[in-house]
């Protein structure tokens, strides 16, 4: 582990602190974790901003994400190319958006993106069914899945087009008191 000066320049620290909810120490900690995932790929010295991307399979092997049923979607959403290859920028961005101090609006936007499996900017019935199956690991019978999804759609769909737009989703999330505490990755 190098000391602060050799990993990031001060200017880079300022940029990260302005663009995320992390302090210097936490950014260094994150760099340590990123490096741990692929020590031979990730350089210790980030002062000249190397463009190193780690594949999806490596990122989802982290203990914080390993057991999360939505881990693939999370990594895909936060990666720039949409395929799950994350640079350090994306990595920090992911943990910043999911940290304790991130505001509700930001988390709602990303939650919507994560649950939108077919990336059409709407949550349709198939998206809901996929979400539910991952939540319960396929333990519910198909009729129960269908029932729960139609009830959920009924409750949240305000404009009656049988799919959830972002405003429907946002409205529903605003009434869920636990959202901020559950949608939160601890690192």
């Amino acid at each position: 582990m190098g000391n602060k000066q050799t990993i990031f320049t001060d200017e880079q620290f300022e940029a990260y602190q302005d663009c995320t909810f992390f302090t210097r120490k936490e950014i260094l900690q994150l760099h340590g974790r990123f490096h741990e995932l692929a020590p031979h790929l990730v350089p210790l010295d980030y002062t000249n901003q190397p463009d190193v991307r780690l594949p999806l399979a490596l990122i989802v092997s982290m203990p914080e994400l390993k057991e999360n049923p939505f881990r693939h979607r999370i990594v895909e959403v936060f990666s720039e190319d949409g395929q799950g290859n994350m640079s350090f920028n994306d990595f920090v961005d992911m943990f910043s958006a999911l940290c304790e101090t991130a505001p509700r609006e930001l988390k709602t936007i990303y939650a919507f993106k994560i649950y939108d499996f077919n990336v059409d900017n709407f949550l349709c019935k198939e998206d809901l069914e996929k979400t539910l199956n991952r939540l319960t690991k396929g333990e519910l019978t198909p009729e129960e899945v269908n029932l729960v999804c139609s009830k959920a759609m009924e409750e949240a769909d305000l404009d009656g087009d049988s799919k959830l737009s972002f405003s429907d989703f946002e409205n529903m999330i605003s009434k869920a008191p636990d959202f901020l505490s559950t949608f939160h990755l601890r690192i």
């Binding site: 958006a97 939540l135 519910l140 305000l158 869920a176 008191p177 636990d178």
Partner: protein, 701 residues
């Protein structure tokens, strides 16, 4: 042309959902593909955009849903742009930035100091929010008790120690009354049997009785030396009153934040399925075991919700005869459970009377008699809820109602059993039935030469017994159970299974312990300190048992509503202790042989007595505060404020409903217009939106 009109209309509707368009040129191509449908424009900033230089410090950048590369690029653009601001504003902005940096760093340091932060973090990750809220409640109680102890130590304990050691310049007022009432010999023997110390420690007698521990040791000294005037009895009384107020303020403040969240997000009943699906998963869950449990609990919760719907549908379709039968069954079983609880109360009453009559018995048997009320209460607290649970199986309420009923029964049982104990003690001391004993000194001075110490001892025994039983349960029940279940697998062990960490009974135990402390604090000033130590040790014991012996409960407790529930139950306990304190202060004659109030007919009368010694202007001022000329305008003013706040709340509620209705209408309008466009474009042979879509995606690939 009509078609272009409609197209313009549709595009204005679509654009109406977009924010400002200034930073569109910085978008990456993957973000916005479909311009026609209503959607959130990921690219545009939620506020007015980065053009204005003096608004939006870089902090806004963190809250935008863009990739890091974009954010850094925007930041560079913002920094390169020469700000058209005065040097004063730029100085202000840089100071604000360094202040927020400093606050973030300070917050990081403070979180190290916060008690048990890492432990709570780990518990939350493995067992979920409900169990974590129990431990946070426990931490709150530890801190509350410690602060109360500091309060009591500062105003009662330390002055007492100081006055005892410098006993020259004090004056103690001797009480007036029959000589026999002033006899109090707290049994200071010379040579005792070796185990007597241990027995005394457990029951608060012997060497512990006449010590700073209990009320009887404090004198009614009024210290006066060179301008320094300290009235110990007054300090004792006012500290006790302030202690109660302080605890109330802490509890209400803590409840306020939780209530605000609960009220803002409305009732949890509506929209539970969608919430379950989208917010059910705890992203902080770590570990294979915790994840499987979480999935099982979500599965269970959904099944419970579906089951409740089925039951509700069935309940609506019942015939009259079946409804009557169900109601009578409910009433009958309610009476049975009330009879059980009443039987427990009667048992406690009898045990207390018997135990108080056995004062003076020696050895282990003596200890047993002395602890009899605590034993009966604890046994009742185990047996009665278990039997009520068995009864609940026949009651056929819906699952959530069953849980709530069980909780209310347990709370009722625990609080009222403590109340029965207190009532019994009080009736013995002031002899409701047997007048001749109390004629002489207005209290039963034969059996209770110093009754406050006896009450303090009783509360001390309750607290200690509660603690010992919890530790004993840990070592004698939970650890062996885990060993047996893990190493022998037969049908019985599989049915019994590992211990489940049930949050509600544990919380009720904490509330019971705290209520005992509140009731006893007036008579045993060191009780908050003992309770701090007890809860401190309890935290570690419970943590150990949680991680080694327990499996997480499948039926989880919601963390936000549970905090409010715990604090409400704590307030019940506080209210009970308050009633006990007011009764002691205002009704019972203090002992004439011991304690700081020995010369008074009522504990509260120290206040009017001191009041008379204040200067006339102070007296007039305080009289004025209590008079009608002041209190009636104050009352009217508070009513006005209350009405204003209530009206404001009603108006906000109405506007929320209006906005919801408007949202629905706009959605329908939009759908209607889009359908119109599609029809028209079909009629005119213009490619429709879907055809354009396929063209777009074809071009992009």
């Amino acid at each position: 042309m009509e078609f272009s009109e409609l197209q313009r209309q549709s595009s204005t509707i679509a654009h109406g959902y977009h924010g400002a368009q200034q930073l569109m040129r910085l978008q990456s191509k993957s973000v916005v593909s479909n311009q026609n449908g209503p959607q959130f424009n990921w690219g545009s900033p939620p506020s007015e955009g980065g053009e204005e230089g003096d608004v939006g410090p870089p902090k806004d950048l963190r809250e935008r849903p863009m990739t890091m590369r974009l954010k850094r690029a925007i930041r560079e653009v913002q920094q390169m742009r020469v700000p058209v601001v005065t040097s004063w504003q730029s100085w202000k902005r840089s100071k604000a930035k360094s202040l927020s940096r400093f606050r973030a760093d300070a917050g990081g340091v403070m979180s190290y100091v916060a008690l048990w932060r890492k432990a709570l973090h780990k518990i939350g990750g493995h067992f979920g929010g409900g169990v974590q809220s129990y431990f946070m409640f426990l931490r709150f109680l530890v801190v509350l008790n410690f602060l109360s102890f500091l309060l009591i130590a500062g105003f009662i304990l330390i002055p007492s120690i100081v006055f005892r050691s410098t006993s020259t310049s004090n004056m103690t007022v001797d009480s007036t009354g029959p000589e026999v009432c002033k006899v109090y010999d707290p049994n200071l023997q010379g040579l005792v049997v070796f185990y007597q110390y241990f027995l005394d420690l457990l029951s608060g007698t012997g060497f512990m009785e006449y010590s700073y521990m209990f009320y009887g040791y404090y004198n009614n000294t009024v210290a006066e030396s060179s301008g320094f005037h300290y009235n110990l009895p007054l300090a004792y009384l006012l500290t006790s009153v302030f202690y109660f107020t302080f605890c109330l303020i802490c509890i209400v403040a803590r409840m306020g934040s939780a209530l605000r969240v609960a009220v803002a997000t409305g009732s949890g009943a509506a929209g539970s399925y969608s919430k379950m699906v989208f917010t059910g998963w705890d992203y902080g869950c770590q570990g294979d075991r915790a994840t499987k449990l979480k999935q099982k609990s979500i599965h269970y919760q959904l099944q419970v919700d579906l089951e409740e719907e089925r039951l509700q549908k069935k309940a609506l379709s019942l015939t009259l005869g079946q409804t009557v039968g169900l109601c009578s069954l409910h009433i009958f079983l309610m009476l049975v459970s009330l009879a059980l609880i009443g039987g427990a109360f009667f048992g406690i009453f009898k045990a207390t009377v018997f135990s108080q009559a056995q004062v003076g018995a020696e050895g282990i048997l003596g200890l047993f008699w002395v602890y009899l009320p605590s034993i009966v209460i604890t046994t009742g607290n185990f047996v009665v809820p278990f039997m009520c649970d068995q009864i609940a199986l026949f009651e056929r309420y819906s699952p959530s109602t069953t849980i709530i009923m069980a909780l209310f029964r347990s709370v009722f049982l625990r609080m009222i059993s403590l109340g029965v104990l207190l009532f019994t003690l009080w009736s013995q001391i002031t002899c409701f039935k047997d007048s001749p004993k109390c004629e002489l000194c207005q209290y039963n001075n034969k059996e209770y030469p110093c009754w406050e110490t006896r009450v303090g001892q009783e509360m001390y025994k309750l607290a200690l017994f509660d603690f010992l039983i919890t530790i004993a349960m840990l070592f004698l029940v939970e650890f062996p159970r885990r060993l047996v279940v893990d190493h022998y697998s037969c049908a019985l062990t599989r049915w019994v299974g590992r211990q489940e960490f049930l949050v509600p009974p544990n919380v009720l135990g904490l509330v019971y312990g705290q209520t005992v402390v509140w009731t006893g604090a007036l008579f045993c000033p060191l009780l908050p300190l003992i309770n701090t130590l007890k809860f401190f040790i309890l935290f570690y014991c419970k943590k150990v048992t949680l991680f080694s012996n327990c499996r997480p409960a499948v039926k989880t407790f919601r963390s936000t509503t549970s905090t409010i529930f715990f604090l409400v139950v704590l307030l019940f306990g506080w209210g009970l202790a308050l009633v006990a304190m007011i009764y002691s202060l205002a009704q019972i004659h203090p002992s004439m042989s011991c304690g700081p109030f020995r010369s008074l007919t009522m504990m509260w009368s120290i206040v009017p007595n001191t009041f008379d010694t204040l200067s006339l202007t102070t007296q007039d001022f305080i009289f004025y505060m209590g008079s009608q000329a002041f209190s009636i305008p104050l009352f009217i003013f508070s009513c006005v404020v209350l009405c204003y706040v209530a009206a404001l709340a009603a108006v906000y509620g109405k506007s929320v409903d209006l906005l919801k209705a408007q949202l629905k209408l706009e959605g329908r309008d939009k759908q209607f217009l889009v359908k119109q466009i599609e029809e028209l474009s079909r009629e005119m042979g213009v490619p429709t939106r879907d055809q354009l879509d396929t063209f777009d995606t074809g071009a992009a690939n």
